[in-house]
Symmetry: C2
Subunit: 323 residues, 2 copies
């Protein structure tokens, strides 16, 4: 059974001891956290809600993996803007019959990842809830006016992605099929990496014209980027960096890879690896086709191995679906 | 039934159209919101998790009241630091069978209150959940180093509260007893006021040495302030500004009044009203009694009408109660 609210906050507070962090003036223990964002910088804010049986399952995901995955969702949003994370916050809804050990290991997974990016857990809230519910807030910073936006893509830009796609969906498929998977620390489904350093380099070296993180799946997230930029896209099926074990469908529609998708002006040189992460050109931004402009899902076409252009409907993982 | 995630976000985005707000560089529609916090200012962050049947009931609280109350919890934390709100964020977990109308009215209550403080709803997240779950994040700002902290109280300081206490608990008692209450716009249970302007004046005019908002109840929240300051307190029972309909027990232990409790150095003049809100002196900060220092709940004594000092145990509303 979980500790009473007050004791639980004290326990988390002791473990989240922030050490020396110049950005954090006041952490857990006051009405608000107080952060120092240097002048000339803008503040980034992202929130991500993770609900048991929607985003994870207790039977499939060890608590350390759940803590890691929750925080990764927020960090990945910061990465997609080219930002640097500053602090994280956690609002936690807990069922009464949950073991305190589950909470301890969840917090441990979250704090380990936070520590690897040198950000403190600076506050949050706790309440009872029928299912485990974790809302993660990540605050970041970025030089003023330099954020990578979804709206920066123009016709003629090349489309790139980091890493490989579909690996997380492949794991999910195997979990659904009843396989027992070991949640190894290197497994990108259980312990995905937020591409913070790659995002920062894309921004600093002015490589990317627009960016988004791949959380819902390539077909959905690229459609978002196209909507915000007012453009269409052509994806070259043969160029997709498909993860081992996954198929092209998973690479197109599978969620939770937390890779970055970015666009690059024609002529800008892109290294084969950025911050150690391989990047692949997968297609091209084209002018919005007038007739289709307002039909959701019609912005992307897939170029298959025979050179045919087929409409690609966004079919990634909508979290609102029944499971 | 609630709209699919994507449509729901678009719907909220249209209604949350931020207009001209200099603090908000990018709102809903990108991976993160981008905020401009002026140089020389610190950033305040607070998160508050509201869960159906823990913090509100669908049968008792109209959706506009729920939206208002959720945001008030965050605003009240900003008020307690003497800060100014900048933007709010909402992570929303929704049961599948919920009527879209409920969501619309909830958002309406939240946006009306946000509008009255001129802050935008700048982002958030949506997911399915078994109970309505709303995590509110409020970002604020404050001149660097000027935040009112819980840790600033010293022996000899006077203790003050704004407004009246116990009014919200009285409403809750009547709801539990089966009374049908009209959720009037002036009712402090259904539509509480965050004391933003009072908090700002307490800070600007250097009246308060420490502050906290009364969300869990006087006995609990004053104990928090005493812990953070390393002091004890004596509360004068006869001086409590008891709300109409409420009794002294409700004033001592009832939560959700969202008034401010603050301490003032002996000799500093305190106006009878601050930003239009009456304030009352209710007691005094005293040196921590050594023997009791680490016993939770022993920091406060109540001086009754016969001048006797009785220990006051924190007995406010712990949200972790059974649901």
């Amino acid at each position: 059974v979980v500790l009473p609210e007050r004791q639980l906050i004290e326990r988390i507070r002791r473990r989240a001891a922030p050490g020396t962090n110049r950005a954090l003036a006041r952490a857990i223990g006051d009405d608000c956290a107080v952060l120092n964002i240097p002048s000339g910088r803008q503040t980034l804010v992202t929130t991500d809600l993770c609900v048991e049986d929607v985003h994870f399952r207790r039977a499939w995901h060890p608590p350390r993996s759940v803590g890691h995955r929750c925080l990764t969702r927020g960090l990945s949003d910061i990465a997609a803007m080219g930002g640097e994370p500053v602090a994280c916050f956690l609002s936690l809804g807990l069922p009464e019959n949950l073991a305190q050990r589950w909470v301890d290991e969840f917090i441990d997974g979250l704090l380990r990842l936070a520590g690897s990016f040198r950000i403190p857990l600076a506050g949050g809230d706790i309440a009872g809830a029928p299912k485990i519910t974790a809302d993660i807030v990540v605050i970041g910073q970025i030089p003023a006016g330099r954020a990578l936006l979804r709206s920066g893509a123009r016709a003629g830009d090349r489309i790139y992605v980091t890493g490989t796609l579909g690996g997380s969906a492949d794991r999910l498929r195997r979990l659904y099929a009843g396989e027992k998977l070991r949640a190894g620390a290197a497994d990108r489904h259980f312990f995905p990496n937020a591409r913070i350093e790659t995002g920062r380099r894309l921004r600093e070296e002015q490589i990317a014209s627009a960016a988004i993180d791949l959380s819902d799946g390539l077909s959905v997230d690229l459609a978002h980027l196209c909507e915000e930029s007012g453009v269409d896209a052509i994806v070259n099926a043969g160029a997709l960096p498909v993860a081992r074990g996954a198929g092209p469908e998973m690479a197109l529609h599978g969620g939770e890879d937390y890779e970055l998708l970015f666009t690059v002006r024609n002529g800008v040189r892109v290294p084969a690896r950025i911050a150690g992460v391989p990047v692949s050109m997968i297609g091209e931004i084209v002018k919005a086709s007038k007739g289709l402009k307002n039909k959701a899902g019609s912005r992307i076409r897939l170029c298959d191995h025979r050179g045919r252009l087929l409409p690609l409907k966004p079919a990634g993982w909508e979290h609102f679906s029944k499971i």
